[in-house]
Amino acid sequence: MSAETHLEGRKVVIHDMSLRDGMHAKREQMSIEQMVSIATALDDAGVPLIQVTHGAGLGGNSLQHGFAPHANEDYIAAVAGKMKRARISVLLIPGLGTMKELQSAYDAGARSVHVATHCTEADTSPQHIAFARKLGMDTSGFLMMAHLNTAEGLAQQGKLMESYGAQTVYITDSAGYMLPGDVKARVSALRAVLKPETEIGFHGHHNMGMGIANSIAAIEAGASRIDASVAGLGAGAGNTPTEVFVAVCERMGIETGCDLFKLMDMAEDLIVPLMEHMVRVDRASLTLGFAGVYSTFLLHAKRAGERFGIPARDILVELGRKKMIGGQEDMIVDTAMTMAKERGLLKDAKAYG
């Protein structure tokens, strides 16, 4: 029996990331009109969950992560009011976003949340997960940069998030580093320890071209929620492309409830025209996947590289070597400056007094 057949009839919930991870690819510059038109098309295509937030989530508007033209609440309220079936979700990274911001996102219409921590730091999320549940939100624990922890380690971290109240636990391949075997091992380890009613999710990046293959591997190991993005609009080489994933699911008999042709059309007609750069596997995004670096670092590294005369690839490799994690975008400019000094391209600041 082939691998394709045994997944027949499995139900998978697609969670679209175009309006959150996609914000990274747009340098956080998306208008409310763009968000509403994309979300309306997703809703019309039957996508059940749509994430709408600054790329770095609630509290993301900052010098560190860039300022979007509008507040998260404004995007959420504008989109939520137009949805016929889809629910709106948000991202919250403790240390950046707070419970106050979660409350105002809820007030604006958000009903689901990814509470995200680095893959070894789940114990920074108890108050946020508990608060999301108190609000009655569909609550996921989101373990980022999951390639940096073992399957057993992730299982323990996921168990912690479940104990705080998470209804779904995600394996998040923020660097697009994992191969299908890595994903299977991690999802299986989670499945073995979590309660049967706790769902497992997978969030992929396509930096090594593995977005679809990894998502299918996750489903085979027991995942039932998959994060994806139309035309892959997301950080690095983008997320698992929603329309491609839905096509593969249709061929395998996995039920997503989404309309493939509508998704294909919106990818071509809505998403691709607004890309500022082709979101694809290229030299820099492949470096992210190969070196295991946080996908969001890509555009920051390109900018810092241009400014200080250091190739983006060199900066990304150095960030990987120094084990920098998501949120440490400030260390990109810092690293570029240190490298520029070593290469004689920049001088130390001296006191004027």
Binding site: T120, Q127, I325, A351
Partner: protein
């Protein structure tokens, strides 16, 4: 020379590290440590180092305050119990240095506003947070030259140096530090971000400070002010180091700092904990110097 006698409340990492810093001081002497767990490593170490200890918490300490002449107490417990600890000790004329996020007293960053607090003989001062101590001097160094519309700081902490209390209450850290960037740093709006990095070997504490000035930044004057401020902090935290910057881009000023600890009780990478204990010790020393010189006198506080 006369030394001011001190008590430490809380026998965790911070309390234990404080013993070493206070023992080195010319004007302070650690006399008591109060904990709540008789088996705690901190209390055992305090006894080894010659301190008197109680496992009955602050109540175990109170009967000894007068006879042992305790004048300054450091609270390294939690925000939940600090107010009560402070009330009980203030009533006996003991000045409190608060290392919890409770912040019932004024916020203190030594090179920015310690002088002011000592002159007012404040009976309770709060040390904000590790990130606050590491970054607010820089925000202030910019805002004392020209007005800062917005200050943002990013503190990267090694996972091993962040205790369970901070982890479970990360929002309190965010709120306290953001507020202090405004109140003490002098930025009209403040924002604090914390990142916990699990790299092994652990990374040194890193801090990035961004300031948006209202007008074009005066580069030479701001650079000079920052360099002077760094030298001020280095007097009590020798491992406070400028790595890169100041970098000027339009109205944005970026400064990239590293904080290495002294490695007393906590390892060097835990610069975040070290800068708290060092700032708290510096604060106590200023009060102690004034008391010894007869310039100020601590009085029992009637608390309603």
């Amino acid at each position: 020379m006369k030394k001011i006698r001190c008590a430490l409340i809380g026998s965790g990492n911070i309390g234990t590290d404080l013993i070493y810093k206070i023992q080195r001081s010319r004007v302070l002497e650690p006399v008591w440590m109060a904990g709540i767990d008789p088996a705690s490593e901190g209390l055992a170490r305090a006894r080894e180092l010659g301190l008197k200890t109680t496992a009955e918490g602050v109540d175990g300490l109170l009967p000894h305050v007068r006879e042992d002449g305790i004048q300054i107490a450091f609270d390294a417990t939690s925000a939940y119990v600090h107010a009560e600890n402070s009330r009980k000790l203030n009533e006996l004329g003991v000045m409190m240095i608060d290392l919890t996020p409770a912040a019932i007293g004024p916020l203190c960053v030594p090179p920015v506003n310690l002088r002011e607090h000592a002159d007012k003989v404040e009976m309770n001062v709060n040390m904000i947070s590790c990130a606050g101590q590491a970054t607010i001097p820089i925000v202030n160094a910019v805002s004392r030259i020209q007005s800062v519309a917005y200050g943002e700081i990013i503190a990267s902490l090694s996972s091993k140096s962040v205790g369970p209390g901070t982890r479970a209450n990360l929002d309190e850290f965010t709120y306290t530090t953001s507020n202090a960037i405004e109140v003490v740093g002098g930025a009209r709006k403040g924002k604090a971000l914390a990142i916990i990095n699990p790299a092994d070997p652990p990374m040194m504490m890193r801090n990035t400070i961004y300031c948006l000035t209202d007008d074009e930044p005066d580069q030479p004057r701001i650079t000079e002010s920052i360099m002077k401020m760094i030298a001020e902090v280095q007097r009590y935290v020798p491992g406070y180091r400028l790595v890169n910057g100041p970098l000027f881009e339009g109205r944005k000023v970026s400064v990239f700092m590293e904080v290495a600890g002294l490695g007393d009780y906590l390892p060097k990478y835990a610069g975040n904990l070290d800068i708290m204990t060092a700032a708290a010790t510096r604060t106590a020393e200023m009060f102690a110097e004034e008391i010894i010189a007869g310039k100020i006198q601590l009085k029992p506080l009637e608390v309603a």
